[in-house]
């Protein structure tokens, strides 16, 4: 399903243009967070408690931001990843992060398309 910028803007009583920089912030921040998550997941053998704790924090933050922007699929998957990190389960973490990245990419495309069709940044 295509992500609807208009619907989100309506929810927040904002103009779509006002949301554009917020999306930029979201994707920039997400990229850094997911890169960090991948590095952590690549080696969970040393200091695992500390690393799972950091993963929990990363997915908790992604979850909150995603739900706020009505990106519920990303929010749901981040919640599952947060729960897995809390339970210190490493199995499937890497593949789920890949899935999360794909979702993010798809929404990013949807948003780009929307703005390309609805005028340029002022």
């Amino acid at each position: 399903m295509t992500y609807s910028v208009l619907s989100v803007a309506d929810d927040f009583m904002l103009e779509p243009e006002e949301l554009r920089s917020i999306f930029d912030t979201f994707f920039d921040d997400l990229e850094i967070k997911l890169q960090r998550a991948e590095i952590i997941v690549s080696d969970l053998t040393t200091a695992p408690d500390q690393k799972f704790q950091e993963l929990m924090g990363i997915f908790h933050a992604i979850k909150g931001a995603a739900y706020n922007l009505r990106m519920n699929d990303i929010g749901d998957l981040s919640y599952r990843l947060e729960t897995a990190a809390k339970a210190k389960e490493s199995l499937g973490l890497s593949s789920q992060i890949d899935e999360l990245k794909k979702m993010v990419k798809q929404i990013e495309v949807d948003i780009k398309v929307f703005y390309s069709q609805h005028g340029k940044r002022q």
């Binding site: 309506d10 929810d11 927040f12 009583m13 904002l14 006002e18 949301l19 920089s21 917020i22 912030t25 979201f26 921040d29 924090g57 908790h60 933050a61 979850k63 909150g64 931001a65 739900y67 706020n68 922007l69 009505r70 929010g75």
Partner: protein
């Protein structure tokens, strides 16, 4: 006025979103903090009127920020609206226990975004504003009470000298101002009149009434012949004012030639020290408080006076705690103390007052005690 609102969230998108949503509020400027350390730095260095605080943050979390703010006197009044995930209701409950003003859960629904969040922010700012206004009013009132205290103290002389007697007085109000008063007055007809009175209640009303009582007393002694008449006339004046809701106890005395005439309107019994016999007697008599009943008759008592005799008058604030502790033997105690310190009462009345106040535990804990007025009359 511009209100400064601090949004604390480790996720930049959340801060940006909230700021955008709240930007419709007029007169609000925003600060942002990405963690608890930065939040505390901002509230300590900027004039912040409201904090919107995410509870779950890495490093110093929202609970620690809230806890530190509520334990610092200059920060504890700033309202804090906390928020957390919908499944974090236990966290919110804990934050409310720590002193959070209000809360909301995230993600915010459209309804919450449009109505609830701006309303919560407006309410919190309104509450902060009202609290600050109350503080200003309170400070102003305290200043006015302090000045009123100075005026009230200046109306009650600590020392008055007459050919027939010397008067020493002391007044300790429980608040800034109180309802006890004493007065020693010689009208143009030549007799020396005095009164000690205790108005029911404390504070401004009692203080206002005590001023009225003093004025009425000085008016009455110009036209009355004896203390009972003064009390009766004052009762006629004051009863209709409040239908008996405010009243006062009063002891009125008159020194005429070598006679001491007195009448008591429900006041604690004064002590009379007979210099020649070196004895202290309690001036017992019954009478209703003034202004309590519509029609009251008071009685005069006449006794001789001699040079060196001393009259000690006080209000019930002196004895209040002791009466409870000693179960009614307080007058005997007072007589004993008076005899023990009679030399001090002659030579240094001010020290005598302080000794009595200490003995009856009336110096410390000002807020807990009643008003106290003390009066010592030494017949020449």
């Amino acid at each position: 006025m511009t209100y400064n609102v601090l949004i604390v969230d480790d996720v930049a998108v959340n801060r940006r979103l909230m700021r955008s949503v709240l930007s419709s509020l007029e007169g609000v400027a925003f600060y942002e903090a990405e963690d608890g350390f930065k939040a505390l730095e901002i509230v300590q260095n900027q004039e912040i009127h409201l904090v919107i605080l995410d509870l779950m943050m890495p490093g110093k979390d929202g609970f620690e920020v809230l806890d530190e703010m509520k334990t610092q006197t200059d920060l504890c009044d700033i309202p804090v609206v906390v928020y957390s995930a919908i499944d974090g209701i236990d966290s919110i409950s804990r934050a409310l226990d720590l002193g959070a003003y209000d809360y909301f859960t995230k993600p915010l629904t459209p309804q919450q975004m449009k109505v609830v969040l701006p309303m919560k922010v407006r309410n919190a700012l309104k509450s902060y504003n009202q609290k600050k206004q109350l503080e200003v009013i309170h400070e102003k009132m305290q200043l006015e009470l302090m000045l009123a205290n100075l005026f009230q103290q200046s109306l009650m002389a600590e020392y008055q000298e007459f050919p027939e007697l010397t008067m020493y007085g002391k007044y300790l109000p429980s608040n800034e101002i109180g309802g006890d008063c004493y007065v020693c007055h010689r009208p143009s007809n030549g007799d020396i009149w005095f009164m000690i009175a205790d108005i029911s209640g404390h504070g401004v009303t009692a203080a206002m009434m005590s001023s009225m009582v003093k004025v009425e007393f000085t008016n009455q002694v110009k036209v009355c012949n004896n203390p009972s008449e003064v009390l009766q006339n004052m009762n006629r004046t004051f009863y209709p004012l409040t239908d008996g809701n405010y009243y006062f106890t009063a002891f009125v005395g008159l020194i005429r030639s070598s006679e001491f005439v007195w009448s008591n309107g429900g006041h604690p019994y004064p002590l009379y020290y007979d210099h020649q016999k070196e004895q202290v007697s309690i001036l017992k008599s019954n009478g209703f408080a003034v202004g309590m009943l519509e029609s009251v008759v008071y009685e005069d008592v006449i006794q001789p006076t001699a040079s060196g005799d001393t009259l000690f008058l006080y209000t019930d604030g002196l004895l209040e705690d002791k009466q409870i502790a000693l179960g009614g033997t307080v007058y005997e105690d007072l007589c004993r103390y008076f005899l023990s310190y009679k030399e001090l009462s002659k030579e240094k009345p001010e020290e005598f007052f302080n000794v009595l106040l200490n003995l009856f535990g009336n110096v410390e804990n000002k807020a807990a005690r009643d008003d106290v007025a003390l009066m010592l009359l030494k017949i020449k």
